[in-house]
């Protein structure tokens, strides 16, 4: 292996690692705030890429139907909830959030699909529709069980994963799609060609991470999420609604997933079931931070990307084995260096 091959492999690894990092951040965020192991995050990646691909072909993506269906269920649940608790005053606001807004997005995408809008606008539509699925999913699948144990929430996640996987096959078919590259430009640094696409992936990932940092550090909602992650009961006592925190978390996680999908679409062919493996690698990255530390999770994901890239050169048949075996020494290292304490609330 000479230097130029090493540089190409590193470039490839860092590009993939940046995408794993976004997913690792989503996993850490969701786990910290809601204690949900977010297995379906991969489906958001696949939905993001395939929704964009469908819009490219001028077709109304199947995710529109899912959005409408979920909005109807969530709206019905909100109404039933209001009737049971006789809490009529909050109803209009909640219906606007869970019912009217998703339906408006669905209508907009359905109407705009045959128009073949400009590429950036298609990306905006894709992000809107897939991101809107997040809070609805939380409302329908997780919120009724929000106080359940981590294990129950994990089981719900597995179920949601399989449902979304099956729907993905139904919506998009078994074959994959690729979206056009954002740019064909490339940059020459010494001996090595760096593709503009990889640079854009890195740039967007960094921007998104920075935006998240600002959100958590500077805004009221961000601080509320951090407070909930730190101490759920305490946050509730000072008036932070756990339902709102959960919805907001899933909104962010869905956005991160959809964004990863849009970024990964031009680099590789995405299938309805591609997301799971991608998110699993994000999960390995997140384990580095013990599902709690954002910077460690991002660093771990980059390491996973690099390891994957170099092992695909040296021993392509054992690539996955090498990447997933990494989780064992990491878990050993974590259990030896961190003090284990039982979470009394679980």
């Amino acid at each position: 292996m000479d230097l130029s091959i090493a540089a190409l492999l590193a470039q490839d690894g860092i590009t993939n690692g940046a995408i794993y990092a976004l997913l690792a951040l989503a996993l850490v965020l969701v786990f910290a705030v809601t204690r949900v192991i977010f297995i379906p995050s991969g489906e958001f990646v696949a939905y993001g890429a395939l929704t964009l691909a469908a819009l490219q072909l001028g077709k109304s993506p199947g995710t529109v139907g899912l959005l409408v269906g979920l909005a109807l269920v969530a709206g019905a649940m909100e109404c039933a909830d209001a009737v049971r608790r006789r809490a009529w005053r909050a109803l209009p606001r909640r219906l606007a959030l869970y019912f009217v807004a998703p339906l408006a997005i669905a209508a907009a995408v359905h109407g705009a699909a045959p128009l073949m809008l400009a590429f950036p606008l298609q990306i905006v539509l894709t992000l809107a529709i897939v991101t809107a699925l997040g809070p609805l999913l939380y409302r329908v699948a997780y919120q009724p069980l929000a106080e359940a144990s981590v294990l129950v929430l994990l089981i719900v996640s597995v179920a949601v994963h399989f449902v979304m996987l099956g729907l993905g096959l139904w919506f998009f078919g078994a074959e994959g799609s690729r979206t056009p590259a954002f740019t064909h430009a490339s940059l020459r640094i010494g001996e090595v060609n760096v593709s503009g696409q990889s640079l854009l992936v890195l740039l967007f990932s960094l921007l998104l991470i920075l935006a998240l940092y600002v959100f958590f550090d500077r805004t009221l909602y961000g601080k509320a999420l951090r407070a909930t992650a730190l101490n759920r009961v305490g946050a509730r006592l000072v008036g932070i609604s756990p339902n709102l925190a959960g919805s907001l978390t899933f909104l962010l996680a869905a956005l991160l997933g959809a964004f990863s999908g849009v970024l990964i679409g031009p680099i590789t062919t995405v299938y309805y079931d591609s997301g799971f493996l991608v998110s699993l690698k994000g999960f390995v990255g997140a384990i580095f931070g013990g599902l709690a530390s954002y910077p460690l999770a991002a660093a771990g994901s980059l390491l996973v990307g690099l390891l994957e890239s170099f092992s695909s050169f040296w021993a392509s048949a054992y690539k996955e084995v090498i990447v997933f075996t990494l989780i064992i020494p990491v878990l050993l290292w974590r259990s030896l260096t961190t003090q284990h304490h039982e979470d009394g609330h679980d």
Binding site: G173, E175, S177, I267, T269, F310, S311, S316, K319, E320
Partner: protein, 384 residues
């Protein structure tokens, strides 16, 4: 009391249904309509739905279609269920090799003929009691590998690289290609593996490029085979690129786009039947199938995989009249006669080739079951 008229109606309907079913031939189908092999299983399922309930020799043929989710255990479970509960006369399936291999024990125990739609020659080899009841419709990989080696040889290729799926499909191809290449005097200078869901194959492709082969074979199926193809072209590979017949569907052309231009693959003649000479025996069967299929599922929707399902039906349609002379559907005598009739299929022209089945070869396809095809601006072009 309100419910009783409905009960009577239901009972009457049940009687009518059993009356209609008596004497009908039931064909149990287990295929991989979901899971990793879904892109192969869905056109097969479409083909059986297209056939509906055809009548052969005055007997109605009913297809009972089950999905095995590309899972071996599920395929065996489906097979046992079809045999025990639905009392089927013949089993068609499954879509993929591991499933078909596992199903053999179940059909041998129950002595029910089975027609596999999976590629590997291992399913029907060697000729022994284990494979007595097992037939298969797709071409053996060795037939296709030989076609590639012959084409490479004729075009001055001396060294080749290989990249394929890290699964049964890729392994089977690698074994066959090593043999064919050796026979043709071509050296394999690099062997790489990848997974169908890999987000990147840069590492493998760089290693292939470093070995500087005259040609590279990509052994994958469906759109995942486009990933290394695009990467090779993107990294400036100038040699010939070969694909396998696993990519023969419209989705592959859509995903590979302009990068696919000039690539070669061996395929069943169905893919380019319009370009075949009118004297070719495969042409009329393929035309019949493709016309009906594309009328229902859209222009350009043909795949050779659906053709394997059609060919299983073509073989049955030829064997059933013979078997009916020896027994009634639903009896052991009928099943045994059906097996014997299948084993004596002579010059049966299917959509993917001509079958001459005998006790030593339960596939029975020859060179007429393969053509070399070139990808040319999003179209399949027959190489003459």
């Amino acid at each position: 009391m309100i419910r009783s008229p409905f009960l009577i109606l239901a009972a009457a309907l049940a009687l009518v249904a059993t009356g209609a079913a008596r004497g009908a031939i039931s064909v149990g189908v287990t295929l991989s309509a979901t899971g990793p092999a879904a892109s192969l299983g869905i056109p097969e399922k479409n083909t059986f739905e297209l056939l509906g309930a055809p009548v052969i020799s005055g007997q109605q043929v009913n297809f009972i279609i089950l999905d095995d989710k590309s899972d071996t255990t599920e395929a065996v479970k489906n097979t046992r269920k079809l045999i025990a509960e639905d009392k089927v006369d013949v089993i068609i399936g499954s879509t993929i090799t591991p499933n078909s291999l596992a199903m053999r024990d179940a059909v041998n125990e129950a002595e029910v003929p089975m027609l596999s739609m999976a590629a590997s020659a291992l399913i029907i080899a060697p000729t022994d009691p284990k494979t007595r009841w097992v037939f298969k419709t797709p071409q053996n990989d060795s037939l296709m590998a030989d076609a590639i080696a012959v084409h490479m040889r004729a075009n001055g290729v001396r060294t080749m690289g290989y990249i394929g799926f890290a699964d049964a499909y890729g392994d089977s191809w690698l074994t066959e290609m090593r043999r064919s290449a050796q026979t043709a005097g071509i050296r394999i200078v690099a062997e790489e593996k990848y997974n169908r869901n890999d987000t990147s194959v840069t590492g493998q492709v760089l290693k292939l490029l470093a070995a500087q082969p005259d040609a590279i074979l990509i052994a994958g199926s469906g759109t995942p085979a486009a990933t290394p193809h695009k990467e090779l072209v993107g990294r400036g590979y100038r040699g010939k690129i070969y694909q396998t017949h696993g990519v023969a569907n419209a989705d592959f052309l859509r995903v590979v786009g302009a990068d696919g231009n000039g690539a070669f693959l061996p395929a069943g003649p169905l893919l380019v039947y319009e370009q075949l000479p009118a004297t070719n025996p495969v042409r009329s069967s393929a035309a019949d199938y493709v016309t009906r299929y594309e009328k229902k599922y859209g222009a350009g929707s043909r795949t050779t995989f659906g053709g394997h399902a059609w060919d299983a039906y073509v073989l049955l349609a030829r064997a059933i009249p013979e078997a009916l002379k020896h027994g009634q559907p639903g009896t052991a005598a009928f099943r045994a006669a059906l097996r014997d009739a299948l084993e004596n299929s002579r010059e049966v022209a299917g959509s993917n080739g001509v079958f001459n089945i005998n006790p030593g070869d339960h596939n029975g396809m020859d060179n007429r079951a393969r053509v070399m095809v070139k990808i040319d601006n999003g179209k399949w072009l027959l190489v003459k």
